[in-house]
């Protein structure tokens, strides 16, 4: 990671040296971007900050940015002119109507944007996506060869292969996924449920529809997987699993595509781990054809409660932030959606998952509440304290209480 970070910083420093020739010239306006705190987004904002002229470009990278977006954009004028969001964090802003439709700005300054970068809601462009991410499988080729198994393409094969590795005495706990009992675990349920082809809500309503056979199958599959995982699985997030992978104690893992660069880079890894790490698409399940994963995008939005001048300045700066120049300098920092991106090996898993037709994470106003109910109630089941039916009933009850309070039911 620190390799990637210093790489990104070095690259931007080099760009700053040539910034005098930057083609981005904005005569006036205020640009202030609120974003999550990771290197790819910093590359975007620092390239946006290269715009010259009377404009001021600032950025606040904060891990807790989700907690302040709504309030920050409600104030008039809003503190931040742009927020970099993902398909879940855009929802609260849409619910409150705090984002500006970008159609006219796209028409004026966004000629280079691709059609599939534009997030449209009810025909209006609300965000411009620039990078993609998804959870998918990471495998250790050498271990799989050792037990004579091919790369798994279904979760059933993952279990079979994992069991074979366990039986061969190679590893006690060959599998891991991000099953920490917070947002992470909810995401695993969402992925698996999508893979089963499930619908989260009754069509046209906000009523939950997960207490069914698909839900039971999802839960049982998750439970079979945690049996192959370390008993500490409820504390496993990216920060926990990545070091375990590097230490060579895992053979198969479902992780975020954004961990790919670090794991292939192999900094701090045991010998032979990075060389044998292969990124493949997320598996399918129960004979289905859609991968059990959800696709994520990150993109920028523009606040509603700011002057048109600031909005225009922000849009130009952000378009510069995601320009070809930035992509070329930071090619391996993320899976970029722009044409100038050359996919490297670190992008293979995300690309395969997207190509196999995985669903995007549902961008629904009340999805966050259901997601929260998942991880609040799932640990009881995964620890074997409760039946699948009881857990699904609990999830629905927890969701209904929250959704009633929020006015969706």
């Amino acid at each position: 990671m620190s390799f990637m970070k210093s790489f990104a910083i070095g690259a931007t420093a080099a760009l700053f040296a040539t910034a005098a020739y930057a083609e981005c010239e904005i005569s006036s306006g205020r640009v202030n971007v609120l974003a999550n705190d990771f290197p790819a987004l910093k590359a975007v904002t620092s390239t946006a900050a290269e715009c010259t002229g009377g404009v001021t470009v600032e950025a606040n990278h904060n891990k807790d940015f989700r907690n302040i977006t709504v309030q920050a954009l409600t104030a008039n004028p809003a503190e931040y002119t742009s927020v970099i969001v993902a398909n879940s964090s855009i929802v609260p802003l849409l619910n409150e109507g705090l984002l500006r439709p970008l159609d006219d700005l796209v028409a004026k300054h966004g000629q280079n944007l691709k059609k599939n970068q534009l997030i449209t809601i009810d025909g209006k462009i609300m965000a411009v996506a620039f990078m993609a991410n998804a959870q998918h499988l990471f495998i250790r080729q050498d271990i799989l060869d050792q037990v004579g198994k091919p790369a798994p393409t279904t979760w059933e094969e993952v279990i079979e292969t994992g069991q074979a590795i366990k039986d061969a005495g190679v590893m006690e706990h060959p599998f891991a996924f991000l099953s920490m009992s917070d947002w992470n675990l909810g995401e695993e349920f969402v992925n698996m449920y999508l893979g089963h082809g499930g619908e989260f809500f009754k069509p046209g309503t906000a009523e939950p529809a997960i207490n069914n056979e698909v839900g039971v199958a999802t839960l049982n599959m998750l439970k079979e997987l945690v049996a192959l995982s370390n008993p500490d699985f409820l504390t496993y997030n990216t920060a926990t699993v990545v070091p375990i992978w590097k230490s060579g104690d895992l053979a198969i893992a479902q992780l975020w595509g954004s961990s790919g660069g670090e794991l292939l880079g192999g900094e701090g890894a045991q010998e032979g781990v990075a060389e044998n790490t292969v990124l493949i698409g997320a598996p399918t399940v129960a004979g289905g054809s859609t991968p059990s994963s959800s696709l994520w995008w990150d993109g920028f939005t523009i606040s509603k409660n700011i002057s048109d001048e600031d909005a225009e300045a922000t849009f130009i700066a952000m378009v510069n932030g995601i320009s070809d120049k930035m992509v070329e300098a930071n090619n391996d920092a993320a899976v970029w959606l722009m044409d100038s991106y050359t996919p490297g090996p670190a992008a293979a898993g995300v690309a395969a998952t997207a190509a196999a037709g995985a669903d995007p994470y549902p961008m629904l106003p009340y999805m966050g509440l259901l997601h929260q109910a998942f991880f609040e109630e799932l640990p009881d089941f995964l620890q074997g304290n409760e039946s699948a039916e009881q857990t699904l009933a609990d999830i629905e009850a927890a969701y209904i209480a929250a959704a009633k309070e929020a006015g969706y039911l």
Binding site: P92, N116, D182, L295, P365, E405
Partner: protein, 343 residues
């Protein structure tokens, strides 16, 4: 003191508290009686980088109209307090009717988030608080006998668990207790059980949280007791010695009674802080095994993408009520002292 003088002396402090604590508390209390307006939904087509789909979205204009009419939302009375995420009267009633034994009822109760959190919170509070008092006193008595040259560094070291940022302190200990970490691996060796994992078992997680709680709070009671020890009148101790008291008796019948007000002070602060415990659960990633009232609030506000202010408000108000109940004995005692002083 005259009312007028009192007023001017207390004004800045009072103003700060009213503005930043009392008013927000009142507004949270009011907000917890309301729920949000019914969201007006419309069906729209959404397109992203991956595909287009028809979904429901909030009709912000129509919802804004409702919002304008009644900015607080829909009045809901105490129903938020009674819903499944809080006191869950309905579910408790059903569980009471349907279960045969008390044990079965109890396990149904534990399936409800509020009661689950309450039980851990109370266990934690009532185990950690007395042990912190006892250990603090023990450490203070022991450090008091350290040669004066070493006292300064000893005091600094004794304060370490309290002063390092819990964010990193707990992170490191979390790694030390990992099955592959120094403490976890040592425990496995001691108990001769290669599968022992502090993080995988609920009772062990509880013990781990409690031990961490004691460890990180003992310095607070230590420093208060240590200071108190300096004031124990030597004459009384001497007199006890001359009367043939053993050391233990001297501590038991002279030192401890003299320190009673300190015990009350520490108990008061510890009850309050332990009842609101949150950081250890987050740092030890223990939310699957143990939740506290503050964790519920944290989860409502920060856990997901949509903060649930009403629900968090209701839990906060109930936390305040819980603290008030816990503190009642202390309040009564202080009230008596106060009246005695006035008399």
């Amino acid at each position: 003191m005259k009312h007028r003088t009192f007023f001017w002396f207390i004004l800045p402090s009072l103003a700060a508290m009213i503005l930043f604590i009392a008013l927000p508390t009142v507004s949270v209390a009011i907000q917890s009686l309301f729920v949000e307006h019914e969201q007006v939904m419309v069906e729209v087509e959404n397109c992203g980088p991956f595909k287009c789909e028809t979904v429901l979205q909030v009709d912000t204009e129509a919802t804004a109209v409702l919002q304008e009419e009644a900015p607080l939302g829909r009045f809901n009375g105490l129903r938020t307090y009674a819903n499944r995420k809080h006191l869950a009267f309905e579910q408790v009633g059903v569980a009471w009717d349907e279960t045969e034994t008390f044990g079965a009822f109890f396990s149904e109760l534990l399936n409800l988030p509020f009661y689950k959190a309450l039980i851990f919170t109370l266990t934690y509070t009532f185990v950690v608080t007395p042990l912190v008092v006892v250990f603090g006193l023990g450490v203070a008595l022991a450090v008091n006998r350290v040669p004066s040259l070493l006292k300064g560094p000893t005091i600094f070291v004794s304060l370490l668990p309290m002063i390092v940022t819990p964010l990193v302190g707990a992170l490191i200990i979390f790694w030390m207790v990992d099955a592959d970490g120094i403490i976890g691996a040592t425990l496995q060796r001691i108990f001769n059980d290669p599968n022992l994992s502090l993080k995988a078992s609920t009772p062990l997680t509880w013990i781990m949280l409690i031990v961490y709680g004691i460890w990180s709070s003992t310095p607070f009671s230590f420093i208060v007791f240590y200071a108190g020890l300096q004031t124990v009148p030597k004459e009384t101790l001497e007199a006890a010695k001359i009367d043939g008291a053993t050391r233990w008796q001297a501590v038991r019948f002279v030192v401890v009674p003299y320190m009673m007000p300190l015990v009350v002070f520490i108990t008061l602060m510890q009850l309050m802080d332990n009842f609101r415990m949150l950081e250890p659960i987050l740092a030890f990633q223990a939310s699957a095994k143990a939740t506290s009232l503050s964790y519920i609030i944290y989860n409502d506000l920060r856990g997901g993408d949509i903060p649930q202010f009403g629900s968090a408000g209701a839990s906060s108000i109930m936390t305040i009520i819980g603290v008030a109940i816990l503190l009642t004995p202390v309040l009564i005692r202080t009230w008596r002292d106060f009246n005695r002083k006035r008399a």
